[in-house]
Amino acid sequence: MSITPEQLRYCDSHEWAYVDASVPDVAIVGISAFAVEELTDLVFMALPKIGQNVSAGSEFGEVESVKAVSPMYSPVSGTVTEIHSALVDKLESLSVDPYNEGWIMKVKMSDPSELEKLLDWNAYKKQCENR
C-alpha cells in the first residue's frame, strides 16, 4: 500500500487523515508536505500515548523545529491505537515521504463522519496556494 496525498483528508492546520478500506474504523494520521516544508529542520516530536483519547481539532502532540514549537491537531476523535515511535529518531524521513514513512499515529475513530468535515486534496491545495 502506498498512500498518495490525493487520497487524504486534511485539517487547515496541515494534518492529514487516511482510512484504508480494509480497516474502515481506523484513521492513519500525519502532517503534510506543506507543513514539513514550513517547519524546515525538525529537532524533536512529542507523540501521544497509546490508549490516549484524542478529539478532532485538539492537540495530540507537538513538533519542535529549529526555532519554533508547534502543536499538532488531531483530524478525528477517538483512541490512539498505534504510534510511530521510530519516527522521533528519523524526523528527516518526513521531508522525503510524509505520507507513508512519515505516519505519526493511528486512531480508532469514535465518529468516522468527522472525516467528511475535513478538506479534500483540491480544497487543501487551494488553501495552501492562497496563503
Binding site: 529542520d41 526555532k67 519554533a68
Partner: protein
C-alpha cells in the same frame, strides 16, 4: 510566563498584538519545552533554583540579570511585505514563505535591537551561525540557551546577549526572548551587555560616549555604566532605563513587519 501562554491561548482573530517586558522576582531557570528537568543539576547551583518550563523550545535561561520580552500575535494578523513598512500589500504570516531561521518577525525584532545597540556604540550584530541539531545529528546542544547559536541571535563579539524562541499555534504566535544585561555568579561563562567582556567591541568614540550619556539623560536619570564582572546586580536606574530602551527598540522592529497602533498599558 504563564501570562504569555494564556494570552496566546486566548488570542482572537483581529485581537490585539501584545508586547510585554518583565523581570523575575528571584533568580529562576526557564527550561526549553523539551528539555529534561534533571539536566539542570549538571551545572552547580542551578538545580536548587526555582524553575519553569516554557512553551517554546531552545535552551535553559537563568532569569536573573536580564530582561524578558514577549510578543503575542493573533493568528490572522498579516506581515508587511519585505522591506516596506509603509503599508503596502500585506502577506499572511502563518505559513510564512521564509524558511528555516529567517522568519520575518525574529529578524525584524532582532535587527531593530542591533541597530539601537550599534547606535549606542556596542559592536552588536546577528550571529549568522548555528549550533542547531536535527535528529539525525544526535549531538546534544549546550544546556544553556546563551551557549547555543542560531543565525538571528544577537552577539557582541563571541558573546550572545539576546536570543528568542517561538511557539506557533492555531490561535497565533508567541515570540519571547531574553536580553542578558549581566552574567550571574552561577553562569560565569556567559557575558551580558554590561560585562566588561562586551565592552572591547564598543566604538568608544566621542560621539558614541555622548550618545550613551545622552540616552541616560533623556530617560530622566544619569546612571553610570558599571561594566564590572563581579556579577553584581544592576541598579534600579539601570534596569528601568534599559526597560524603556528595550520597549522602544522592540516596537520599532515589530512595526517593520506588522501594522500596530501602540497603546500603553
Amino acid at each position: 510566563m504563564e501570562i504569555d501562554e494564556a494570552l496566546l491561548q486566548n488570542a482572537q482573530p483581529d485581537g490585539p498584538i501584545v508586547l510585554r517586558i518583565y523581570r523575575w522576582e528571584q533568580p529562576t531557570l526557564s527550561l526549553g519545552h523539551f528539555q529534561k528537568p534533571e539536566d539542570r543539576y549538571a551545572i552547580p547551583g542551578l538545580g536548587e533554583l526555582p524553575w519553569v518550563r516554557r512553551k517554546t523550545g531552545g535552551g535553559a535561561i537563568l532569569h536573573e540579570h536580564e530582561l524578558t520580552y514577549s510578543l503575542i500575535v493573533p493568528d490572522n494578523r498579516r506581515l508587511r511585505s519585505t522591506g516596506d513598512s509603509n503599508g503596502s500589500e500585506l502577506i499572511d504570516h502563518r505559513p510564512a514563505p521564509s524558511k528555516g531561521h529567517s522568519e520575518k518577525l525574529y529578524r525584524a525584532v532582532h535587527l531593530a535591537l542591533v541597530r539601537n545597540l550599534q547606535g549606542l556604540g556596542w559592536n552588536a550584530q546577528l550571529s549568522e551561525t548555528c549550533t542547531c541539531q536535527t535528529s539525525k545529528d544526535k549531538k546534544p546542544e549546550p544546556f544553556l540557551c546563551f551557549l547555543r547559536r542560531s543565525p538571528v541571535d544577537i552577539v557582541i563579539g563571541q558573546h550572545k546577549i539576546l536570543g528568542s524562541a517561538q511557539r506557533r499555534t492555531a490561535t497565533g504566535l508567541l515570540q519571547h526572548g531574553s536580553l542578558l544585561i549581566r552574567n550571574s555568579r552561577l553562569t560565569p561563562e556567559l557575558f551580558g551587555l554590561l560585562n566588561e567582556a562586551c565592552d572591547p567591541g564598543r566604538v568608544k568614540s566621542e560621539q558614541s560616549e555622548k550618545l550613551v550619556q545622552q540616552f541616560w539623560v533623556n530617560q530622566g536619570s544619569v546612571a553610570e555604566l558599571d561594566v564590572s564582572q563581579d556579577g553584581g546586580k544592576p541598579t534600579f536606574d539601570e534596569i528601568e532605563l534599559w526597560t524603556g530602551w528595550m520597549v522602544a527598540s522592540l516596537k520599532a522592529g515589530i512595526s517593520e513587519v506588522l501594522e500596530v497602533n501602540w497603546e500603553q498599558d
